[in-house]
Symmetry: C2
């Protein structure tokens, strides 16, 4: 028997295995994954982001977790490193400016910070976290089928990413898809961005929780109270979701209220983009159809009749994994990604 | 002296002169122009659109006015024919569906209708009228400088066109940029599209006029009344503009009210697209700064802070000429335009 294995399809795939490291830089947690281009995540790591210790320390943290993932690659070395980051990312995809909740962080070139720390010339590509989630969804998740879709991430804030003809639509400076700051009521409540009636002022985690807390005053027997043992400081969208699954009327009603608002803003986005598939991700999207069914109901009423066919709202079932997958995907796309065409 | 003129720069330009016919198919008037690629409109014609006589008759009308323009070309024959049309235009840029106010018009392939009537294989390219206006502005008007801008046309309705990296952004099916149907108040008044709080329900000519008529009840001495000899059926945005220039408080206030609403919806569009230059055209835009100054004032308050730099709102000074110029431009772009890349 020969020691050289026969060249069949599976061996070829193994020989051609292609790896990249994806990083999800969050204000609370720093996550990383080793990603196989074909099969997805094969190794992951996570640690608290020590954002209060300044950008140099955070860059050290990123370098350390990236090295850990690179060392885990079973065969060929990794092709590159992709990073999803909050805040503004420049057109060249190197630099992150003013990420919320990061101390002393004005503008940091993460590409050179990483390349220096790792002593490598491997591609390091940085992109806005919501755009990265959209890219992950496009290649590995609910966004695989359509060549264009709008990603909405419901979390602490409301983020967005636009995939148009299989590429991230980046706008003029890399800052497109700020869906969370689109208004649905020009005299509505102010969101943290200062925009009156911005959708984030209804669906952002804190706003939604405040809304629920106020409405609970009229529902002394709601299951929501039991789930937090009467401590309304513990209220969260996840608690609302759990109460809703237990049949709690108020929780279902609050999530439907949120879904209705979501449908309104998605209508505006569809009118402008003529992109009719929506993928909803982020933590709050775990509430699934409690939010998405009402959004689907109202959506056509906020879209011009000529664009009302084939409207779809999908839940991203991969959850936060799309962020790691999308970040790695930045590296697989390589140079093409760096010039902003994807 | 030789009969052959010396080959200098100007002669070369003449030899290379490039013409196309641009058509603006409106519900009321049918306009056409012979356009020189470099110098703009050199000949034009106009007639009432006999939309009540059905699509075959309208196609005959278009063919006749196009022949008139083709015959006017001083040197080389025209390169092609571009048509800006209301209603939905298909991805292939051949067919117009359900244009408002055209009788018995479901779906008509204007390309083949024209090529048959003219017995020609010249390119005939059809595009949505607001997109055509944006293209005209991009090459001949206020949109020449930026490589990306959002065109808003304020007329009977509120239309939109997106120029992104010097190309029309067409969305998934050719229907993008329906700015007029984006909501700014999800519980606001219904526009004709059925969308609650759509900007067209505030700034569409009829809506704006109704609003003015109602407010006039409290202003018995307004100059607006004099301008229409007391016949409020004659009220129009143009009358409001004239009254405003005469210093009439109410007229100025109504136009400022409209501008404020415009600023709100433009903020939403900028958040989504990260395209920060706006060009405003269409008949109502003649009111200029009476509308645009309040829009500029409010705009930053509806844009996320990270995208607030370099916001600009320009008036399209070329007026309706951009529609004819943009239609001709479709033909200059030729095959490239036909595949939808511009």
């Amino acid at each position: 028997m020969s020691l050289i294995p026969p060249l069949n399809f599976h061996n070829l795939l193994f020989l051609m295995a292609s790896y990249a490291v994806g990083v999800d830089l969050g204000g609370t947690n720093l996550k990383a994954a080793l990603v196989d281009r074909d099969t997805g995540i094969i190794e992951r790591a996570e640690c608290p982001t020590e954002a209060d210790q300044g950008p140099k320390h955070v860059a050290d943290q990123i370098a350390a977790i990236v090295v850990e993932m690179m060392d885990a690659a079973p065969s060929s070395p990794v092709q590159g490193i992709g990073i999803g980051a909050p805040g503004a990312v420049n057109w060249e995809r190197t630099t992150v400016s003013k990420p919320p909740n990061f101390e002393d962080w004005t503008s940091v070139n993460l590409r050179s910070a990483l390349q220096t720390r790792l002593d490598t010339s491997l591609p390091v590509i940085v992109e806005n976290d919501a755009n990265v989630a959209a890219l992950g969804s496009a290649f590995y998740g609910a966004g695989q089928d359509p060549d264009s879709f709008i990603m909405v991430t419901l979390g602490t804030g409301v983020g967005g990413g636009i995939i148009y003809q299989n590429k991230i639509f980046r706008g003029s400076t890399g800052g497109a898809a700020e869906i969370g700051h689109m208004t649905i009521d020009y005299e509505g409540p102010f969101a943290k961005s200062g925009v009156s009636g911005a959708i984030e002022g209804y669906l952002g985690q804190e706003f939604l929780t405040d809304h629920a807390r106020d409405r609970l005053i009229n529902y002394p027997d709601s299951a929501v109270r039991d789930l937090v043992d009467g401590n309304l400081d513990e209220l969260s969208p996840r608690v609302l979701y759990e109460a809703a699954t237990q049949g709690d009327d108020l929780a279902q009603d609050i999530l439907a209220w949120a879904g209705h608002k979501l449908g309104c803003v998605l209508g505006s986005a569809i009118n402008l983009l003529d992109i009719r598939t929506i993928v909803v991700g982020g933590g709050v999207s775990a509430a699934g159809d409690y939010i998405l069914a009402p959004a689907r109901d109202v959506l056509p009423r906020f879209v011009v009749p000529g664009l009302r066919d084939d409207l779809q709202i999908h839940q991203e079932e991969l959850g936060n994994e799309v962020s790691l997958l999308g970040a790695a995907r930045l590296a697989f796309e390589g140079e093409q990604a760096q010039v902003g065409s994807l």
